[in-house]
């Protein structure tokens, strides 16, 4: 077992009694590694305090990414990670709240929470793992699946144009938005670091391979390394989100505005000026 990673695993994983549930070559495992490395670097460079981490996950393969880590992990219901995370962030404004969620989890069933969390600018850092379909349930169409793609629930081709999560986030005023792709290790790790240091809502969308379903059915390639190559072919670095035949990657916005937790706590302080109420 890689000792760097092992260092960050909770006991049954560190002892090798449990292993990740991902299929061979899945991007989820790679992202897990990137996340650990980002934290490890931050700890060395910035004295980042990882004891204040709360990680909330969606349900989906990608929701399992942080499970082996020895941090506080809250597995939310499918689609509800942002709500749980908002609850955490409001009562612990000084904690670092990270959400791992799949494209189905965040954009399909969880879409409403996404809009409102961004609007409020809750200081949550979202790592969206976009494998362009539902992995966990076996390869169904997602809001990110290219139009006309064949999946298990679109045998005649996907009738829906895909959603550009980054574009949506930008238009709603998200204060940090970036998209990278699993083969770009350095960029992914750097972006995770930026995300963790950002104030306010941040979204990192990470295009990731699902060799078993996306590879076989949507793209038509099943060798994991080849899907990674394919991803490099269809993406191009830019400063504007776009999700068509070419998908743009890069950092799209990075700025600050008052966060929800700041405003909420200022309300508490304001209300208490008029006199405390302790039941």
């Amino acid at each position: 077992m890689n000792p760097l990673i092992q260092n960050y695993l909770r006991s049954e994983y560190a002892q090798g009694k449990r292993r990740t549930i991902f299929c061979p070559g899945c991007g989820n495992g790679i992202i897990l590694g990137y996340f650990v490395r980002a934290i490890d670097e931050l700890k060395r460079e910035d004295g980042f305090d990882d004891s204040k981490l709360y990680i909330v996950t969606g349900i989906g393969c990608s929701g399992n990414i942080p499970v082996p880590l020895k941090y506080n992990i809250i597995r939310a219901l499918h689609g509800r990670a942002l709500s749980v995370a908002t609850g955490v962030k409001l009562v612990r404004p000084d904690s670092e709240v990270v959400v791992f969620a799949g494209d189905g989890d965040l954009l399909s069933i969880g879409g409403n929470h996404l809009i409102h969390t961004i609007r409020r600018n809750v200081g949550i850092k979202v790592i969206l793992v976009n494998n362009m379909l539902y992995g966990m349930t076996g390869g169904q169409v997602a809001p990110t699946t290219p139009m006309e793609a064949i999946t298990h629930t679109t045998p005649y081709g996907n009738p829906e144009p895909p959603l550009d999560a980054c574009k949506l986030a930008v238009s709603l005023g998200a204060t940090y938005v970036a998209r990278w792709v699993v083969p770009l290790a350095k960029q992914c790790i750097q972006s995770i670091k930026e995300l963790l240091l950002h104030r306010g809502f941040g979204l990192l969308e990470c295009l990731s391979q699902c060799p078993v379903y996306q590879g076989r059915y949507v793209i038509g390639i099943d060798r994991p390394s080849k899907i990674m190559d394919y991803y490099l072919k269809i993406t191009v670095v830019s400063d504007k989100p776009s999700y068509g035949d070419k998908i743009t990657i890069g950092k799209f916005v990075d700025y600050e505005r008052p966060t929800y937790e700041e405003i909420m706590w200022s309300i508490v302080n304001k209300a208490r000026e008029g006199g405390n109420y302790e039941a």
């Binding site: 549930i21 991902f22 299929c23 061979p24 966990m136 078993v212």
Partner: protein, 196 residues
């Protein structure tokens, strides 16, 4: 009469397909029989162990899961260790060459060792283990009391051809080759069992 068959191995070895084909072949061989087929389900099929069960009966099948197995074909040590205990005392355990026979609980049951995985690789892919297992099973089951004289290799051939034609529909190349190789695998499996 109730016959219980289990195929077990790693994902990718065609354990699931073997079961489904066996069920279809039984239906073809004797339409009056009841058949239940139940492959393993869920995340475990993606990595690690996989199994599929077929139950054959001449009356309606109540409990649909295996309890006392008549024939178990097991391609991995893990599968063998886990399931050999479920095989009836007068049942048959078929294991791949590389699998070690249990010294303890299962040691006194009937074991056949067949070179299933190796043959499959010779044909071209681990996946042919599927039709090899199937061939071997057809041979064995065709000689058990209830199916004797009714379950023939020919049934298997027809069903296998039909099955691959249907499931590969739309695939552009290599269908012929695939079918031929599967038929060959079927026959190899059938022969393997004969030798025993």
């Amino acid at each position: 009469m109730r016959l219980e068959v289990r195929f077990a191995g790693f994902g990718g070895q065609g354990v699931i397909t073997a079961g489904r084909l066996l069920a279809l072949i039984i239906m073809e061989a004797d339409p009056s029989l009841y058949v239940v087929y139940s492959p393993s389900y869920g995340f475990q099929t993606r990595g690690g162990d996989t199994l599929s069960d077929v139950i054959i009966s001449h009356e309606e099948i109540d409990y649909p899961k295996v309890r006392r197995i008549d024939l178990a074909v097991m391609l991995t040590q893990q599968a063998y260790n886990k399931y050999c205990g479920l095989v009836k005392d007068d049942g048959l355990i078929v294991i791949d060459e590389h699998v070690n026979k249990d010294k303890g609980t299962c040691g006194n049951k009937r074991h056949y060792k067949l070179g299933i995985v190796a043959s499959a690789r010779q044909i071209g892919s681990d996946a042919y283990a599927s039709t090899i297992m199937l061939g071997a099973s057809i041979n064995y089951l065709g000689n058990t009391e209830p199916l004797k004289g009714r379950l023939m290799l020919e049934h298997a051939r027809q069903v296998v051809i039909r099955y691959f034609k249907e499931t590969l529909l739309g695939r552009k190349v290599g269908i012929e080759d695939l079918i031929n190789k599967n038929i060959k695998a079927l026959e190899i499996g059938y022969e393997m069992m004969k030798i025993k």
